[in-house]
């Protein structure tokens, strides 16, 4: 209904126009806006400072990954999925590899399972670190960004040694992981844990306990548990509203059922609750890594599979917990070497859909705090 062209035609200013009811204004946020962390376009209807409606316009980074996958083989399509949620690239690859393994009915070696879980949890910490820095930057503080990157870079270095890449790893393949871990992996991860434990109090001192941040996040963007379920919100967004939705606990995969960790739940439902879930989740990830880092079983890291994979006719669905929520991979196979249809149920897509609901009636200045704690990654939403 409200398009850029109409807005330009209706006003002397290209991104600001008065429409509808008297006193109602339309503001475009994005597609290039620092707070959207990517190319998200929000068309916001305002009455004074109060938000009447938020309408997301997507597709600026739509690459039609689902269509591309239809012409790629079961070994190839996993590489494309690193480009969806690029902050949880390992976990995306993991979900796809698991779905193919489910179709092939192959078991992966215990060593590969432990390596996969270790990589997933390191990725989760790295993703939350970036979110924490970027969210503080959205709310006007630049220093936390550097503090977050100091730890995040260490994880990226660990990844680079083993996987050869820092962002799009493509390390998990059907049957296990591509190659064994670097000889220094365990040493470096232990160093990281020491570093993290030395530095984590800074996060609380700088942001969590800061009264300015608390005032900007508490009672902002309140989401009830019923709405969170109805809108399909998962991950820290759902758990901040008290919805138990951790796939690692509910439908355990790999070795998660044997590990000791807590599902982090907050009941506030506001931005601060979502913030606290992520901060506490990082500590749980450290706990998982500590349990595993000295107990990586010896053995193979890759099961022998055929060079050309063929999935039997049927439908396969796997769910994993990424840093943002529940990622579903749905493969429909006709028995060939390519998937007939593939669907990625991305967590960001559902989490974004709730933005309009939680933003209505609040002030425009709070929108950034809401978007920040939803942790939107735009390539994950557009796919």
């Amino acid at each position: 209904m409200y398009r850029e062209t109409q807005i330009i035609a209706g006003s002397s200013h290209p991104s600001f126009a008065e429409v509808g009811q008297p006193g109602e204004f339309i503001i475009n946020v994005g597609p290039q806006h620092p707070a959207t962390h990517g190319v998200l376009h929000l068309v916001i209807t305002l009455s004074g400072e109060t938000i009447k409606k938020v309408e997301p316009h997507l597709g600026y980074i739509h690459r039609s990954i689902e269509k591309m996958c239809e012409s790629l083989s079961y070994r190839q399509f996993i590489y494309v999925t690193s480009r969806m949620d690029y902050l949880s690239a390992h976990i995306n690859n993991h979900a796809c590899a698991m779905c193919v393994e489910k179709g092939l009915q192959v078991e992966i070696p215990p060593r590969a399972q432990v390596i996969r879980v270790l990589m997933d949890e390191l990725t989760r910490i790295a993703s939350h670190e970036l979110w924490w820095g970027a969210m503080a930057m959205d709310l006007g503080a630049f220093t936390p960004f550097f503090h977050a990157f100091r730890e995040r870079e260490t994880i990226n270095d660990i990844m680079e040694e083993t996987c050869g890449a820092r962002l799009t790893m493509n390390y998990m393949v059907p049957g296990g992981v591509m190659q064994d871990i670097h000889p220094d992996f365990q040493k470096r991860v232990k160093e990281f844990i020491q570093l993290y434990k030395r530095k984590v109090h800074e996060y609380d001192e700088m942001v969590t306990g800061n009264i300015i941040f608390q005032n900007r996040m508490k009672n902002v963007g309140v989401l009830s548990a019923e709405d969170a379920i109805s809108y399909g919100c998962t991950g820290p967004t759902g758990r901040g509203s008290g919805v138990s939705c951790d796939i690692r606990k509910l439908y355990p995969y790999e070795i998660y059922s044997t590990l000791e960790f807590d599902e982090v739940l907050e009941t506030g439902g506001d931005s601060f609750a979502r913030y606290m879930v992520r901060i506490r989740e990082m500590n749980q990830s450290i706990r998982i890594i500590e349990q595993l880092i000295d107990n990586i079983p010896e053995g193979e890291v890759l099961t022998k599979t055929k060079a050309v994979l063929k999935l039997p006719k049927g439908e396969f669905y796997t769910r994993v917990e990424t840093a943002r929520g529940e990622l579903g991979v749905y493969i429909v196979s006709e028995g060939g070497t390519n998937p007939f249809r593939i669907k990625f149920r991305s967590p960001g897509f559902s989490n974004l859909s709730v933005l309009d609901h939680i933003a209505r009636g609040s002030k425009i200045g709070d929108l950034v705090a809401m978007m920040g704690t939803l942790d939107l990654v735009i390539p994950d939403i557009d796919r």
Partner: protein
């Protein structure tokens, strides 16, 4: 509820549904005209209580389209897959966005990528594709784009 109990319960409550074997979850097929009443029953019946729609998508089988709904219950932790067959030339099905709010965005996505018309959808517009998009729906099997190469 175990899969057997769930199957017995659905047979009792939804006589129109036909079961399909395979997969880890119970699969049912429903006529598209019965879908809205079935969805309301699945959501509100207290012993089923499917309150979480975790995936909504469509498959183009070249001869027909199939809508696929993955449902889950956060209370009982049981899962169900519902399929509705649609006519490929005139695909129409009732919207369920008032039952599960997440369906609003997912249906808009299916609308533009597969051309399925969702009846009584509150806001059925293009979501991902650019405005003024004309021509075929990209995720249909007969879609070919000579300019932007998709086949690798």
């Amino acid at each position: 509820m175990t899969n057997e109990e769930l199957k017995a319960k659905i047979t009792e409550l939804l006589p129109a549904a036909t079961f399909e074997e395979g997969g880890e979850w119970i699969n049912i097929n429903i006529e598209s005209k019965d879908w809205l009443s079935a969805a309301e029953l699945l959501r509100h019946e207290s012993s089923l209580f499917f309150n979480y729609l975790f995936c909504l998508t469509c498959i183009d089988w070249k001869t027909h389209l199939t809508m696929v709904y993955h449902l889950s219950s956060t209370q009982y932790r049981h899962n169900l897959v519902v399929r509705c067959k649609l006519d490929r030339n005139k695909p129409e099905i009732e919207s369920v966005s008032h039952i599960w709010r997440t369906a609003e965005f997912h249906e808009r996505e299916v609308y533009e990528l597969f051309g399925v018309n969702f009846l009584n959808h509150p806001d059925l517009r293009l979501l991902i594709l650019p405005d003024g998009w004309e021509g075929k729906n990209p995720l249909r099997k007969d879609f070919e784009d000579p300019v932007n190469m998709i086949k690798l």
